[in-house]
């Protein structure tokens, strides 16, 4: 199956308005104005900067010290791209230090991986053209968190676009221009990873508790409607609620890696998509599946107006499948609502999810307080309530 890249390569120049007809004249006149009071303005800036730095540098570092973790993304030339709390501009010098550390050790022909002290653990990941760094109070799985972060960026741009943009626009390119509006996705990908018990087990997917028979009906309905539509390239269907999956159907030959699944879950959990009577169509790269191409995701919250927070996602490799998948959604929704007993159970399970119950694995052991079950082949996890 071939995966197409949305729109092919970046459209050079499309993002730079004003460089057209009137550009040269304009920039010339702007320059002239600037020259007159350039010096005094510079002094002003310097003064302001100094004042700001004095005021914030200490505060800022103090604040950062309190945080359980801090994540940085920068370009190889040290240009800030993302920090999970606060403002990249304020932390320029910290970004520079990270860049220099990584670069210095690379010049020695080695790789900087981690720096540890008693209560601070710093992990680095250099994936050209980007550098990732996490500073954390706890040392657990920092390497995997950085991998997740890298894949989150790839899911927005794909590896080919990421590499091309630096090739075309130079090492000094400000990647934030291309990532505009995605800070909250990057942020939620890290925070949900850290906040979830699934981070204890390698890249897994958490499953929302439901009656097995209801889940089976849900899966059969989704598989039936998706299969019947005969849309070649529509490969996956997922029902998600509360960042957990209720059901997942796929074409036989294709498997979605749990880390890719978590990227999808993170995307659809964004508040901006939770609109009633609307659906979203967006490209998304799933790096474990193919880091150079894009899927197109059909995303809808069919019952948002009834406050049922379930999200249906249908993924295709074809960009013109929106209409087809919209019909698939209608068919799935119709069939699910048509089975009133199912729909009642499903709504209850999704609106107010229970944890799995210990009695579900038998009452034989008095001393069992809680369990986590990981299915090794599907990487799905069930977590019980405590006794």
């Amino acid at each position: 199956m071939e995966i197409e890249v949305p729109g092919g390569s970046l459209n050079p120049g499309s993002g730079e308005s004003g460089v057209g007809e009137s550009g040269s004249e304009k920039s010339f006149s702007v320059l002239q104005v600037d020259l007159a009071d350039e010096e005094s303005e510079r002094e002003n800036e310097k003064y302001l900067d100094e004042e700001k730095e004095e005021e914030t540098a200490e505060h800022l570092l103090e604040r950062l010290m309190q945080l359980p973790y801090q994540v940085f993304i920068l370009s190889e030339s040290g240009r800030p791209i993302f920090v999970n709390s606060g403002n990249e501009e304020q932390l320029c010098s910290l970004f520079a230090v990270i860049g220099i550390f990584v670069e210095r050790i690379r010049l020695w022909g080695d790789n900087l991986i981690t720096i540890s002290s008693n209560n601070k653990h710093i992990q680095f990941l250099h994936k050209s053209p980007l550098i990732f760094c996490i500073v954390s109070k706890y040392p657990e799985k920092l390497d995997e968190q950085l991998d997740v972060l890298f894949e989150q960026i790839l899911s927005i741009l794909s590896k080919s676009q990421l590499e091309n943009v630096y090739k075309k626009k130079g090492d000094n390119y400000d990647l934030r221009k291309l990532l505009r509006g995605t800070d909250r996705l990057i942020e939620s990908s890290v925070s949900s990873w850290r906040g979830s018990p699934i981070s204890f087990v390698d890249s897994s997917i958490s499953v929302i508790p439901m009656n097995p028979s209801d889940r089976e009906f849900l899966a059969n309905t989704m598989a039936g409607s998706l299969g019947a539509a005969k849309l070649e390239g529509a490969l996956f269907g997922i029902m998600i609620a509360h960042r957990q999956i209720a059901s997942y159907v796929r074409f036989k030959k294709y498997i979605m890696h749990p880390r890719d699944m978590n990227i999808v879950i993170n995307l659809v959990s964004d508040k901006s998509l939770q609109l009633s009577d609307a659906s979203t169509w967006t490209p998304i790269c799933l790096p474990k599946f193919n880091d150079t191409g894009f899927f197109y995701a059909y995303i809808s919250y069919p019952w948002q107006s009834q406050n049922i927070p379930a999200c249906l996602v249908l993924l295709s490799v074809k960009r013109d499948h929106f209409d087809g998948l919209n019909e698939v959604k209608k068919s799935i929704v119709e069939k699910l609502e048509g089975n009133s007993k199912f729909f009642q159970n499903f709504s209850a399970a999704v609106i107010c999810p229970n944890l799995f119950n210990i009695s579900q694995i038998g009452n034989f052991n008095e001393s069992l307080w809680s369990f986590i079950y990981l299915n090794h082949s599907s990487k799905q996890v069930c977590i019980s309530a405590s006794k």
Partner: protein, 188 residues
Amino acid sequence: MVLLGESAVGKSSLVLRFVKGQFHEYQESTIGAAFLTQTVCLEEATVKFEIWDTAGQERYHSLAPMYYRGSQAAIVVYDITNQESFQKAKNWVKELQRQASPNIVIALAGNKADMANKRVVEYEEANAYAEENALLFMETSAKTSMNVNDVFMAIAKKLPVGPTQGQDSQGTVDMNQPQQQSKGSCCK
């Protein structure tokens, strides 16, 4: 119909105001494109709007043809307090004139009209540009709802009445084509 324009000019806010009558002071940036519908009764006909609210960010630019190719109408939005967004709007108009369906109805909307004290794009300038290019033009405010319904209605009135659905069926906006459904699946 499709809404195009620089990011943060208020495309989603206009659509939300029109479709749901809502306005959020802090509207999250759109991911990809959102598809919404709204049915409106005019005196002589019922119009069903099928609206693509696209994301304005640079990385989505190359996807735009997917949304405007099947559209009968486009609203190109700029922010009256942002000169660059007006330039971007002109680029969108050019692109539509070159690449969209030749009969497409284009409206230019200068949004955030409630922020007149920060205005940098003059009404006359935009109006003159719209006249030159035969565009509908209005200044709008999703916040106060000024001219929001009007701009959608003005477009509806310019659309051909009756069975235009046929020509549109290869496009991306016709939702009335049932899929051929057949039994059997390899999906699970």
